[in-house]
């Protein structure tokens, strides 16, 4: 099996895992939210592989629905963020002055610890799901934007772009027809690699209490609940949701690096 095939296989497996989680969450919503007070605080066993919480809810069902929620939030946040990054990179491409301004804004965004910025943004938007999506989208674009800018500056001096310019095409036409299609693969890889960051930050923010509403079955909510029961020795409450989140993050990382290997095999060697 050559590198290309193994990359495709990895991406396929990861995608199947993610799709599996998203689909099974639809079936498990009922089990994850209904309380059963005869089955409270059960340790993991065959009937409840991940145990149950203090309200008798099955932790497996809750973890899976929590992951599906993370997926939705991550999808929207990372998608928005990629659009922002592309927009800012294109602004950089407009000219020297615009590049200066965009560069300064990018620097300013990177000048604050990520989590601090997320807390501030989420605070100013009043918390909740929409606030988290917007906060994650606003705070994650700078790194990708830098990559896209470098790529864009390279493409914009390519002979075919020079030719197009000499033929009198407008800047907007060149951006849209020549440069944007060239950035598309980078955008896809950027999206896939941003996803894990987005869901990790969402979970962290929710864990601190600035994220998703405590009533929703989010991984961050589960873990902050679990912290209250930690001295009672109920390890399964914290272990499984976090482990599932880790698996999801790894699946996206695998998909992202597989995509990068397929798109630019030379750079992804080491």
């Amino acid at each position: 099996m050559n590198g290309r095939q193994s990359a495709l296989l990895t991406a396929g497996l990861a995608a199947t895992l993610i799709a599996g989680v998203a689909l099974s969450a639809r079936l498990l919503v009922e089990a994850g939210t209904s309380a059963d007070f005869t089955a409270r605080n059960l340790a993991p066993a065959l009937s409840h592989p991940f145990g149950t919480d203090q309200m008798g809810r099955d932790m497996l069902a809750r973890s899976v629905t929590g992951l599906a929620l993370s997926l939705r939030v991550g999808l929207m946040a990372a998608g928005l963020s990629v659009l922002l990054a592309t927009f800012m990179a294109m602004v950089s491409g407009l000219g020297r002055q615009a590049d200066r301004v965009a560069g300064f804004v990018t620097d300013a965004m990177l000048a604050m610890p990520h989590l601090m910025l997320l807390i501030l943004l989420s605070f100013s938007l009043g918390g909740g799901t929409t606030a988290v999506i917007i906060a994650v989208a606003i705070s994650h674009w700078p790194r990708l934007s830098r990559l896209l800018r470098a790529e864009l500056l390279q493409v914009s001096v390519a002979p075919y772009v020079e030719t197009s310019r000499a033929l009198g095409r407008s800047r907007l036409f060149i951006l849209r027809r020549h440069i944007l299609p060239h950035l598309a693969p980078q955008m896809l890889v950027g999206f896939l690699l941003m996803f894990p960051h987005a869901i990790l930050h969402e979970a962290g923010l929710t864990f601190l209490g600035f994220g998703l509403e405590p009533s929703r079955p989010a991984i961050g909510v589960m873990l902050s609940d679990a912290m209250r029961h930690i001295s009672a020795g109920r390890w399964w409450l914290a272990f499984f949701p976090g482990a599932m989140l880790l698996c999801m993050v790894l699946a996206f990382e695998a998909m992202g690096s597989a995509a990068r290997r397929l798109i630019s095999p030379r750079e992804a060697q080491c």
Binding site: P113, G209, A238, L246
Partner: protein, 321 residues
């Protein structure tokens, strides 16, 4: 000299912009600081009293006046009054900065040292099981939620084995002044391990790539042909060339570590700046939140700046940027 001045001017402009942006964000928040301050006590407070509190805090004045008043005070060295701790912001921060430095600063230092060492080790043994183990560890750690790792450590070592205390920076009930050094270390160890485990990953991966690059270069081939042993080469050619890139990444990782420390402090109830941030955010304590945001921005942007300068040193082509 002119370069230094330009950097300073840029830094000052950056801070001013961040201050303005943060202030506007806070003002845009639907969280009412008076309500958040009162909490459950709101039932006993009438609208007149609420208006009095708002007036005492200057919240009844227009936003731009509030900002100018705040900025003027900050420039004169007065950070204001923390509403959630009911003490001057400077004092609240001074109380916590030592705990923060002990945890975050040490974690940062240790991540740099261990990350570099692990990276060198992996590169020197590239392709072997040592290399593979270190790489798997790094990828795994980079994908692990920091607070979950902290929770796991706490479950294992505090609850399960009972080796380490479950919370705080000293035994409960003992005033901070009377905590012995041994007790301090005992309470510090677990949060420190959690943060360091997390911080090592990126630095190690980066060092590894750089060192492998060096080891594949022509001058190393020459050294090898002259009969130098693998360790000779790593120590005399490798480490020197990989140290600067590693330092650059370490500088740029300050923000990550601070973000991790907010989460770790929350899990371990460590009384540092991270916990104060969460507290301030929950209670709508604008002066404290602004001050912490500015301080961390100052630290992180300085780290980034140093990283950029180092980068320019390492690779002169980046100097123009």
């Amino acid at each position: 000299m002119a370069g230094v001045l330009r950097h300073l001017a840029r830094q000052a402009l950056l801070l001013a912009l961040v201050a303005l942006a943060v202030f506007l964000l806070m003002k845009a928040s639907p969280v009412d600081p008076v309500d958040a301050y009162l909490g459950p006590a709101i039932a006993h407070v009438g609208p007149e009293q609420k208006a009095q509190i708002a007036a005492a805090w200057g919240l009844d004045r227009p936003t731009h006046e509030q900002f100018l008043a705040w900025a003027g005070h900050v420039l004169r060295g007065d950070l204001g009054q923390s509403t959630s701790y009911n003490a001057p912001v400077a004092q609240v921060m001074a109380d916590r900065i030592k705990a923060s430095l002990a945890l975050t600063g040490l974690a940062w230092l240790l991540s740099g040292i261990f990350g570099f060492a692990l990276g060198c080790w992996a590169a020197a043994q590239a392709g072997t099981w040592v290399d593979r183990t270190i790489r798997v560890y790094c990828y795994l750690l980079a994908a692990t939620p920091t607070f979950w790792l902290a929770l796991l450590l706490m479950m294992a070592f505090s609850v399960g084995l009972g080796w380490t205390p479950i919370c705080c920076a000293g035994p409960i009930g003992v005033p901070p002044g009377q905590v012995s050094l041994w007790q301090k270390l005992h309470h510090l160890i677990l949060p420190l391990v959690a943060l360091t485990l997390f911080g090592v990953a990126q630095i190690a991966l980066h060092t590894r790539v750089k060192l492998i690059e060096v080891l594949q270069s022509d001058y190393v081939l020459l050294a090898r042909a002259q009969g130098a042993t693998a360790w000779d080469i790593v120590i005399h050619h490798g480490i020197r060339n990989a140290a600067l890139p590693a330092l650059t990444v370490t500088m740029a990782s300050v923000g990550e570590i601070f973000g991790g420390s907010i989460l770790a402090e929350q899990v371990f109830a460590w009384p540092g700046l991270g916990r104060a941030t969460v507290e301030a955010g929950m209670k709508g304590d604008l002066p404290l939140l602004l001050a912490i945001a500015l301080l961390t921005t100052l630290i992180v942007s300085t780290g980034n700046r140093i990283a950029d300068l180092l980068q320019a040193r390492v690779d002169p082509r980046m100097g123009g940027a």
